[in-house]
């Protein structure tokens, strides 16, 4: 499957899901005033972006895999 078709399929699925949620009778099950634990800094996915960007770079330079974490490019810095 071509990349464009794959991505279109995914975003269309996401878009459809969001439409379904818009019309669904299901109420958000975690109320805004129940979010104190989720708002705690230790629950953040990326508490220290500069540090995690550096580690992502070290890992990416030493292996074949890339992507899937939300991080972006950069040079080589290696040999």
């Amino acid at each position: 499957m071509s990349i464009a078709r794959r991505i279109f399929g995914l975003t269309a699925a996401v878009g459809l899901l969001s439409q379904l949620w818009a019309c669904s009778p299901i109420e958000p099950w975690v109320k805004p005033y129940e979010r104190e634990r989720l708002a705690d800094p230790i629950m953040a996915f990326d508490r220290n972006p500069v540090s995690s960007a550096y580690m992502d770079h070290v890992i990416e330079v030493r292996s074949a895999s890339r992507g899937g974490s939300g991080a972006a490019g950069g040079g080589c810095g290696c040999n």
């Binding site: 109320k31 805004p32 005033y33 129940e34 979010r35 104190e36 708002a39 705690d40």
Partner: protein, 164 residues
């Protein structure tokens, strides 16, 4: 103590009432009684006859923290004219609210809704939520979230209600 079913029933009733607010006129603000900062208890009914601004907040909510000093100046400005601001903290543990208030002191009353009973009663949809209650005890406006500039909206609403 209200049983769970009574509370759910009240919540459903309030939701229906608030949802049909436009058709049926302004709904009455659900009554409540909560422990206040300093040890006493505050009941909403003790403010009947005044314009009341109920602000639901939490110390972990960034826009809530941002608007606190502005709410304090609004309170100081309009209190002599028959206005009160009732701050409802929604956190299960008062510790974080207390340490925030030590750093950012306020002069308006703060109550603690540790079990989220009142947040549920008012069907709070986002943080912060600000509810304007008129002198007759009816809900006139519910404003969700805070953006810089919203304090002007608050003051307009307060002035309108004070003129009644």
């Amino acid at each position: 103590m209200l049983t769970r079913w009574t509370r759910l029933g009240l919540m459903a009733l309030t939701t229906v009432i608030l949802a049909t607010a436009n058709a049926a006129g302004d709904p009455p603000a659900p009554g409540f009684s909560l422990p206040a900062r300093g040890g006493s208890t505050i009941d909403l009914s003790q403010y009947k006859g005044q314009v009341v601004m109920i602000n639901f907040w939490a110390s972990w909510c960034v826009p809530c923290r941002q608007e606190m000093p502005l709410l304090d100046s609004i309170y100081k400005k309009y209190k002599p004219l028959g206005f009160t601001l009732l701050s409802v903290n929604v956190e299960p543990d008062q510790k974080d609210a207390e340490s925030f208030l030590k750093q950012t002191p306020v002069t308006f009353p703060v109550v603690f809704d540790a079990k989220s009973k009142v947040s549920g009663l008012y069907n709070v949809q986002g943080m912060p939520t600000t509810v304007f209650v008129d002198r007759k005890g009816n809900v006139r406006l519910m404003h969700v979230s805070y953006k810089p500039g919203d304090e002007n909206l608050y003051m307009d609403q307060i002035r309108t209600l004070l003129r009644e």
